[in-house]
Subunit: 499 residues, 2 copies
């Protein structure tokens, strides 16, 4: 029997999945193993794979098959219809960014990234500005064509590339909810925490000891080391595909928790990737549901669970065993205060759980103004400093700690930042439901029993792949539309608890 | 200006090179890093990349471009004509093995390899025999179509896939030369060596110490660690492409030289890959000249140089420093006797330099008879044992140590074995010329100066890529057609020296 158009599509997307898996392994190797002098060769290999994926998605054959499969959609099962929808979505994104534009953007961002790094090192925004202008202009072109293909506003079309199904009108609503209460909350928490500052954790812990602790924690979480690895790289990252997921972190001897928190963050994403439905694993419907959902899994594990008293009670004897750490600074209560300490700072990646969304809202606001042309690129440094002062009450000491601190805009990732904050809100909404569904949640965590947690996540999140839209998935898992209120309730309960 | 057909071909083969480089990195990862449970996922990725390469080479577009480029060949430079010839060769090999046949062979060999391993573990040839018969039948089909496309005899067409430019008539001539003198030589050497057996090297050396020695030796040889790595795997292997070459070895605590000899063997191949011409590095003319030439580089370094007194004089102080090894067993003369010890055995991979070609000639003879149908597969065990007894005077104690010891036939690699022996002959012919061209050869090696050696290899072998045929390359490097006489002279001088 000849293969149906839908079956032929599955075959094409199976190839796409294999190429993407290969590319992900090549990126992991570049971050963890690759000799320094091999970057150019690796760049060519990755470009060839990317271009192959683009060619596949934009081929007339695939578009023809999609049309024919849609004409017979009634004969498909439910998950197949969802798969076809995701195939179409990927095709639309690819076809709306013709190879000529992709190539121009790739060239412009490659140069812009180098200039950005120089500008950051020299704290000289003027070096970067013309390149940012070019990237913005090309990104506008891309958003324009994407907008027409997807039937979304241009900026929303960019967001859709990272976190499908989120519109800026909803993001604005969520950010407004948060903005109304967060500034006062931050002020109150800083005041409260100042009354009992944590004791400092002195001394150094070797990376080998930190690694052995991290491996034990990952095993307890259920990370399958026969289908994944933990390694070290300059920046924590998760690569790989279902069946072979690679987590990395960075161990700093003077910061005994930096590496572990990186591991929790990445393991959250890794467990999502490993929990995707096996039967759909090489199809678009078997992919994760985008950046915001991935970030929700990372933040649930790192921020909500990892920085909680039950988790630290579980961790305490492990710290004894792996680090040989003792004394009052290493008691659960002091570790907890250390890990939830709130302070206003200029740098996003150093920010705590409470001030982090402020950094995101600032970027979301500025990138939209740049994108819409109401903020000229040359005025960005001034606008950034003013916004930071207005939102957090401090000014960056220079542009390297201001508008030059993040790489995202240099590489054309406009519309990416909101995902970080959305991830936090989604995580808190899951957490509220989880605590409700699992009455012994805290006791389980304190005993190092993570089975029920991941069982819930597999049933409600991981195992669904991309079969539902982001909003449908959140609704089906929590019974409610996404709101920032669970996050605010969680944040207030955690950070303002009566002592 | 529009790209010429030839320029378009360069672009296509650049993609091919990127895919092959990606596949090689994936194979390295599978051997060194990959979690055990990820093999199926990796298999799919590799199959997708292989199939993409096959599709590219067999596309009507590439064939059309080759025809048009050939029509205007007069306008090309010399190296471009050689490149076009190699493009055509790769196309011919690919097009002669249609995807249906490739797929059937891939399926048959995948099953046969599993059955071979079971049969070897159970020492039960009958388990494997029907699968070997299927692989032989399919390989005959493949050889038949290849034969017509390449204008070679069927078995020669298979050889051409591993070591282009070698015909079985020449291989037979070389093997006859060797066979006339080798049996007597082996007998005399064993008798001579029995008079002064080496002292045993007792004790264990940790893999960490063996590694640090190996790294120092690789550095001395000129291996660039900013464009390559050394890792460990079950079987030594070299993967990667120009610009990023990965060497592996296996360190055995009770065998202090096994790991180092593996490193020398693989570094010989790695230096070839790294010394290929940068300007052609992503084109067919910039590839190595096939298995026999690669093996010649491995054997020159491991067997001829690595197992020589000058090299051991260089190594002696390093052994002190890295292993802390002392006593009479670790003196240069005893190490030399240990490393050139000759004994008759049943296992190819354990064989010494002198008996190794015997194992190869046995396989070459048997595989041709199987392939031509004069030896039925069911009679292979008996024929193997008889041949081994006739050639080396011993019978394997069972089929696991007889005709089941190697994986090659199970995976369809007929025509591969001769390359191993050819590599040894080529290495000896290079060595004879090298000693002539470089009067201070021994002194340089003893002093750890390998610069002149690799400079000669770069000029005469590595830097030529695939621009000459194998025979032309050997002739241009040594002034003579390939012969087994240099190898016999070298072997007699080394193993029968007056004490």
């Amino acid at each position: 029997m000849a293969a149906t158009p839908y079956q032929q599509l599955e075959q094409e997307f199976r190839r796409l999945h294999a190429f993407r898996g290969a590319a992900s392994l090549l990126r992991w190797d570049a971050a963890v193993m690759m000799p320094r002098g091999s970057a150019a060769v690796r760049g060519e290999q990755l470009a060839a794979l990317d271009s192959e994926c683009h060619t596949l998605l934009t081929s007339p054959r695939v578009s023809r098959l999609i049309e024919r499969a849609q004409a017979n959609e009634a004969q498909l099962e439910g998950w197949q219809r969802a798969n076809l929808r995701e195939m179409r979505r990927e095709r639309d994104h690819a076809i709306a960014t013709p190879i000529a534009l992709v190539t121009r953007l790739a060239r412009a961002t490659a140069v812009a990234e180098v200039r950005w790094l120089e500008a950051k090192q020299d704290t000289n925004f003027a070096l970067f500005a013309p390149h940012l202008e070019e990237v913005v202009a090309l990104t506008r072109d891309k958003a324009h064509v994407l907008s027409q293909a997807l039937g979304l506003a241009p900026y929303d079309a960019l967001i859709d590339g990272f976190s499908p199904g989120f519109l800026s009108v909803e993001i604005d609503r969520l950010f407004r909810e948060v903005s109304q209460r967060l500034p006062a909350l931050i002020r109150d928490v800083i005041e409260l925490q100042a009354r009992r500052p944590p004791l400092p954790l002195a001394g150094k812990v070797s990376p080998a000891k930190q690694r052995s602790l991290a491996v034990e924690v990952m095993r307890a979480l259920g990370f399958p080391f026969d289908r994944g690895r933990l390694d070290e790289s300059d920046h924590p990252v998760t690569e790989g595909v279902w069946g072979d997921v690679r987590v990395t972190t960075r161990f700093v001897p003077t910061e005994p928790f930096t590496g572990l928190m990186g591991v929790l963050h990445e393991t959250g994403q890794a467990m999502y990737d490993l929990g995707l439905p096996e039967a759909w694993r090489d199809q678009p419907v078997g992919r994760d549901r985008g950046m915001a959902l991935e970030e929700s899994q990372s933040l649930l594990l790192e921020m909500i669970i990892g920085r909680s008293r039950p988790f630290l009670r579980y961790l305490r004897p492990l710290l004894d065993r792996h680090f040989g750490a003792g004394g009052p600074a290493w008691e659960v209560e002091n570790l907890y205060r250390t890990l939830i300490h709130v302070r206003r700072g200029a740098i996003r990646v150093d920010a705590d759980e409470l001030t982090y969304p402020v950094h995101i809202m600032l970027r979301h606001d500025l990138e939209r103004r740049i994108f819409e042309g109401t903020l000229p690129v040359r005025d960005l440094p001034q606008a950034w400093s003013d916004e930071l002062e207005g939102r957090l009450g401090l000014r960056p000491s220079n542009d390297a700690e201001g508008c030059l601190q993040d790489v995202h805009w240099a590489i054309g990732s406009f519309g990416y930042f909101p995902s970080y904050a959305l991830g936090g809100f989604i995580a808190a909404q899951f957490y509220e439901t989880l605590r409700n569904d699992l009455p012994s949640f805290d006791e389980d965590i304190a005993a190092g029993r993570f089975g029920a947690l991941f069982e819930w996540l597999r049933q409600n999140v991981h195992g669904l792949g991309a079969s539902l839209s982001s909003q449908e998935l959140i609704k089906s898992a929590t019974g409610k539309k996404l709101s920032a209120m669970p996050w605010l309730r969680y944040a207030e309960a955690k950070y303002l608890e009566a002592e």
